[in-house]
Amino acid sequence: MEKVARGVAALILLLCSGSALAHMMGVVYNLPIPFWMYAFAASAALVLSFLVVGYFVTAQGAARNFRTIDVDVRAAMAAGATLRTMRALSVFALLLTILTGLLGPANPFGNFSVTFFWIIFALGFTYLTALIGDLYALINPWRVICDGIERLSPGAFRPRLRYPPWLGYYPALAFYMAFIWLELFGQAPPRTLGLILLVYSIVNIAGAALFGRDAWFRQAELFSVFLRLIAKISPFEYRRGQAPGERGRLRLRQPFIGLLQEPADHFSLLLFVLFMLSSTAFDGVHETRPWVLLFWKGIYPQLTRFIAQPYLFFVDIYYDWQWAMLFLSPFLYLAIYLLFVWIMKIVTGSQRSLRDLALQFAFSLIPIAFVYNVTHYYTLLVGQAPAILTMVSDPFGIGWDLFGTAHTVRAPIILLADGVWHTQVGLILFGHIVSVYLAHVQALEVFPKGKQGVWSQLPMLVLMVLLTTIGLRILSLPIAAGQVQDPLPQPSSSAEPAFALATGDVAFAPKTR
């Protein structure tokens, strides 16, 4: 995986104009939450979890009688005209993002593509999906383009190869890892972003031509998989007509219940869900002081003992280490998750396989992952999204003023820190409770033997409290002043690090390599 990342990095370096950006999505102004708030939230998560257990211990009968209401969408959707418009807009937005990336202003903060892709789409549309459901499945621009090509030359997308079952969602997971890497370490200027989206478009069309549209957009395309999982949170579900000529239906359900409709259907999807969790956790932790010092105070002195190399060499190693941690993080979470599922299997004496149980409970982690994502990024969305109003009037930076908003300069909105803290803690507690609840309902289904279902959930409960506590702790950690720490301050007499002092510019190496 790291080789791939190195390849991507090489590509980016080749194209990089050398602009420094703290985070692809913009600058985060969040303060770490106060320790007492962390202590409060962690204890609250624990106590509320046991309240949920208590609730279920006394529950009678199946808790699964969720109601759904089907709505005929004939009237609401204006017979597909709305949908056609949205599909056209979706393709237009993709093309505009690619073109403004390639041709627009070089300054990432002034370029339409950067704000639109990272803020409006990657954050805003994700949260919208949690509210309104899987609209993306209907208007996926790459799928719309494929459908258009199919109409022009029928048979262009008949599957040439059978999508191998073992491949599962691994392509989507690989794209997801590349996406997060790009966000955290890519420092991709607009040109690179435009190019990456262009390449990704070609890959999607080629993939759909090879394996057929349904297989490709169900399992391999990153945003299809990601947003389909997020949409399970939403109270709305769109159902395509089964028979030809039958109209699609809109189904109403309780929020989050969609997560119980089906288990994860492939091991790779479990890894995908775990990466949703671990990548956000990694993003939270990778710039905190304890984490950065772990390398520079813990690992670096050990390394220097064995490897006689200049300081800059270790700056490279530092980034290798950060990247390796990012790509290993889902597997670390997998090990922890499987451990607790295994304990659950022992406790219940279930005949089901470990793999089957792990897949059954995978989606119950999504609320924790989702609220964790929101707590990390919602300030960015609020702060940076309004800038799109300025850029949309002049997306190419050539003096247009399409909507009369090109010259309204907006300072980023900075939310009050204590408001942010309260929202973060509240959201995390909420997501935690929902996850615990879902896991219990699932347990009653998977282990139907009376109360056993409830107590089987103790391992899962401990796991979820652990995940939530880790998440909260990360939010409360102080942030490092710089990624590359000067390992000097200890006034040791060892001569080797002296070169770092001699040339001041060495100690603060640029973040890109």
């Binding site: 409060f40 204590d418 000067d486 603060f508």
Partner: protein, 151 residues
């Protein structure tokens, strides 16, 4: 139907009780707890050179925080990396640099021109809460950050 309601009520009571139990009586401590954990400078606690923090300026409710920084070769040589202040306080940064550069404080969007032998000074009221990075434009280095905590 009664049970979910009871559940929500009990949950809320638990939350409020825990909140009251954990909330510190003196919110002043928020920043300084963090400071101790991080080993960074909060005014009046540690790390600030003697005499760096002046007495009150203007109205008695406005505290003034003065920080002195020395930059050599695009790198912080003395002074704290992270300044912690409280919202509404008057902040003064005195910066000495051995080379010509521009210091940029994000969020507040303040710039200071630095030159050898000069002491540049940034003065402002910390009215926005959050964590704001400080960078040197020419050296492309991150100097540190200003952390403004709510009152």
């Amino acid at each position: 139907m009664l049970k979910p309601v009871a559940f929500v009520v009990v949950s809320l009571i638990v939350l409020v009780a825990l909140w009251i139990y954990f909330k510190p009586q003196f919110p002043e401590q928020q920043a300084q707890d963090g400071a101790k954990a991080a080993g960074v400078a909060a005014p009046g606690t540690m790390g600030v050179p003697a005499g760096a923090r002046s007495a009150e300026v203007g109205t008695p409710s406005v505290r003034a925080d003065v920080f002195d920084l020395t930059i050599k070769g695009g790198k912080l040589r003395s002074g704290p990396e992270v300044f912690q202040v409280h919202q509404g306080e008057r902040v003064t940064l005195n910066i000495r640099s051995d080379s010509r550069d521009e210091l940029h404080l994000h969020g507040y969007d303040l710039h200071a021109q630095l030159g050898p032998g000069e002491t540049a000074s940034l003065q402002f009221i910390a009215d926005r809460t959050g964590r704001f990075g400080m960078e040197l434009h020419k050296a492309h280095s991150e100097l540190g950050a200003l952390e403004v905590y709510p009152r």
